[in-house]
Amino acid sequence: MLFSLQANATLDPARAAGDASSVAADHRAFCTHPPPFLSPDAKRLCDYSKQIPNCQPYADACDALEPKPSSFPAWLTSALDWIAKTIAKLAGLLGWFGVWVVAGIVLGLVLYPLIQAVTQSRREKRDDADAIKLPALPSKTQSAFLKLSRDEDPTRVLEEANLLAQQGKLDHALYRYLHAALLSLDKNGAIVIAREKTHGEYVRACSDSEAKPPLRDLVREIEVVRFGGREPSMGGVSVAQERATWIVKRAMAAAVMLTVFFLTGCQQQISGNDPGGSDTLRALLEKQNVEVKTLFTPLAKIPIPTPKNRETTAALYVDVDRIPLEDDAQEHLLRWVDAGGILILAGSPTHWPKALGAKVERSTSLDISVTTYKEEKTKKTHSDEDEESGEADDDDDESTLIPRVDNGKLAHVAAVSWVDKGTFVLASTHDEKDFVVGELRGAGAIYAAASDEPFTNAGLAIPGNATAAIAILSNVPRQKYLFAPVGAGFSPPTNPFAGLINAGLGLPLLHGFFATIILFFAVGVRLAAARPDAPPRRRAFTEHIYATAAIYGRTKSAKHALASFGRYAENRLAKRLGRGAPDIVTLLSQRSGEPIEVCAVVWGRALVAREAENDPPNGDELKILRKLTSIYSRAMQ
């Protein structure tokens, strides 16, 4: 019974019942406002609902879960069940089919624009290379102090503006005030800073209606100086300062509110409305002067205690029924205990770390007993002393272990079989099965309960359970507790793929990967297919030429097509030839980038086709025509 000594002097089971009643008012939301849809934990604890005083709404919610007795005959009920199951199966099959169809459509929707973009970029690659660059704006608008980076901090820019105003650089100060205001609005999402936007457009586009008037005032002050040619005045600068400061502060306040909103969750959480939560336990521990905090790191990453800090490391409470432990989390927790950590597990032994070797034990009793011992010193009488030792002693105090038994109530039977070298029992069921077992392990210890029920909000609302829970925890030699939140048992992914695989998306990821490979090759094959030398710029006209040429080709008049196109090209090129311009062949070569010899041959064939139209064709007129249209279209771009 050495380890059943009350190790934590702060926790006092004797006053636990009173403390539990005092914290109950703030943590009985699960009774008064149970969730509209009970969670599995809440359903599991429904058996407590009738035993908790003044908890009718929760009891009603639990009753609503009970299946209603059917008023139909048995054969009809079974027939309806069969029909319902068949429909559900069919719906499931249809659902699967639908999922695959939707997946295919989504994949197509994603890939189609990608393929289009690839083909478009190839088609327009040359255009981009030839794109004419815009002349730069005059230097006045690009002077250093006018430039603004979206990465700047609005607060810093505001301070800089104040400094500039103090130094008398009023125009610069004005510009920086506007920068600060625009930056803060941009970061807040009220506007989007862009090169082509005017100040007026920022004002009109500002989605923050309250920031609009001060921004308008600010812009007006600045435009009078910037475009109106006026000298900046102290009055104008003070107006700009006031407006910019207001905007920046408002944006900062909005950002803080947004952060708080996301941190606290979008919906308002009612404290203690989850019957399976641990709000009451935390409040009860705090009431007993124990420091309670939430663990913010995953269990697989919790820092290993060192010999120096192991005594001050907080005990870790993990409700394993709510927080599933992954293998690496289990291994890390045991290493953490070996190094000096104190681990409290609450929940079914099947959820404990496998390495502990604990098993579920059959039990028939819902009652548990926790026995604790308190050491008390009593004065010995001299007669007694003399009788026992026969010699005189100045130290006449004696230590006495005073046992105390506290009883608790479970909602479901639970017990554990965990026999190891260092294990010891802290609580048992009334049919003599172990309920809470501890083990000294390395430099630390594990305290594990076969069920989390006595520690839950609902469980602690049962008379006697608070005392039992505090009695169990009074064995834990720590004054500080860390509570692991739901989800802490999952390890953070080491890479994005691991994250997807952990989320159960491994197979879809594999499918997606293979689909991408197939599509990649499909697009690649399509793009690599033989195509004309150069994509014609004026496609509509070129297609017309091709079509005309094809008709001529079918009528054995390809030579006539070549001659016609040559005549057309000559007319258009002649308009481009100014005074002192080169001849057509040189022009074609220079503008299209084709070697002059090729241009000379192609153009020569076009001339020959015109001059000797009645001669028999060579047979390669269509090929020459295609080459000529390609050269011509590039030359005319």
């Binding site: 255009d127 004419i132 815009l134 002349p135 704006l137 005059p138 006045k140 608008t141 690009q142 006018l146 430039k147 603004l148 980076s149 979206r150 004005l174 510009y175 506007l178 920068h179 625009l182 800073i193 862009a194 090169r195 082509e196 936007k197 005017t198 100040h199 007026g200 457009e201 600045i222 435009e223 009078v224 910037r226 475009f227 109106g228 040619g229 710029r537 004026r538 496609r539 509509a540 006209f541 771009q637």
Partner: protein, 320 residues
């Protein structure tokens, strides 16, 4: 004239027109800007959208003399400019002025007249004078042509040549009114409104005031950065591959004048880029010619200009 006086008078004319014209705010603004910038206005829109009524209302409210020419295929240049008629009593030729001798001329369905007659307007629009039989005669001041054309019908029309189009300061397109506005129009007619009788409309200003406003707008200050912005915008149209023909330097001047009026109408004596940007479309849309490929792809001049404007950095204090 003070800045506030200009802005107040501008609003006075607008509100005077708004008594009869329901909706069509952009059209009224555009016509007024064209008049005060000493330019001419081309209005394109389907029949029955109030193009002619806007012009008549502007004349009625501004107190300017008003003439209307219905352009037809058989309209002769002399029908527009006037001609010398032999006077048998004096044995001399006497000049009978044509309808162009008005302060506000409505050239209705201008694209129905042949090029020869359309060209009769060229000298009047550019030099504000008319030459007949070698004698030049100045037109009354202020002088503005408001021409209308119908974009739907192409049979029997003569598209305006580029040189003629370039003379118009702005081209405004009229769209169908929203349902509520249309209901209001119909309700007005149901309660007895007669668009053919505007005799009850009293002039809100005098022509002298209009001339004074024109001079005031011309004196509005424009910063070098804004001038650069205007030039960049217009030059961009010449460098765009979708446009066969870009806007001329006359477009830059037109954009400047229009922006000056916009600035003055807001009681400012300086132009900001915000005054320039919204006027880019009406000033440039009729001065550019789309490349045939772009036409085949269904791209419109308006779409190209909107894209081009987006691509030109505005002079601002904050550059990203």
């Amino acid at each position: 004239m003070q800045n506030d006086a200009f802005a107040n008078t501008f609003e006075l004319i607008k509100s005077g027109i708004a008594k009869v014209i329901v909706g069509q705010t952009e059209l009224v603004d555009g016509v007024l800007v064209g008049l005060l910038a000493q330019g001419h206005v081309l209005i394109e829109g389907a029949p029955g959208l109030g193009k002619t009524l806007v012009a008549r209302m502007l004349a009625a409210v501004s107190g300017a003399s008003f003439k209307r020419i219905q352009f037809t295929p058989d309209l002769m240049p002399s029908d527009v400019t006037g001609s010398n008629i032999f006077d048998r009593q004096t044995n001399n030729f006497t000049f009978i002025p044509g309808p162009i001798f008005a302060q506000l001329l409505l050239a209705d369905e201008i694209n129905r007249a042949p090029a020869k007659t359309q060209s009769a307007l060229l000298e009047a629009m550019q030099d504000r004078q008319v030459t007949v039989d070698g004698t030049s005669r100045p037109l009354p001041q202020p002088f503005a042509v408001i021409a209308t054309q119908n974009p739907i019908e192409s049979q029997g029309t003569y598209p305006l040549p580029e040189a003629q189009l370039d003379r118009f300061l702005v081209k405004l397109t009229v769209v169908d009114p929203p349902r509520d506005i249309e209901r209001q129009i119909v309700r007005n007619h149901a309660s007895g409104f007669d668009p053919s009788d505007l005799s009850d409309i009293a002039p809100a200003v005098t022509t002298e005031t209009l001339i004074e406003m024109q001079k005031h707008a011309q004196a509005v200050r424009i910063d070098d950065a804004v001038i650069s912005y205007i030039v960049d915008l217009v030059r961009q149209t010449r460098q765009d591959r979708s446009l066969e023909l870009g806007a001329s330097p006359r477009a830059s001047i037109a954009l400047l004048r229009a922006a000056q009026v916009i600035a003055a109408s807001q009681a400012r004596d300086f132009v900001t880029p915000d005054d320039v940007k919204p006027m880019a479309l009406p000033v440039l849309r009729h001065r550019v010619m789309l490349h045939p490929d772009a036409q085949l792809q269904g791209i419109t001049a308006d779409e190209r200009i909107i894209e081009l404007v987006k691509g030109v950095p505005a002079p601002q204090v904050a550059l990203s």
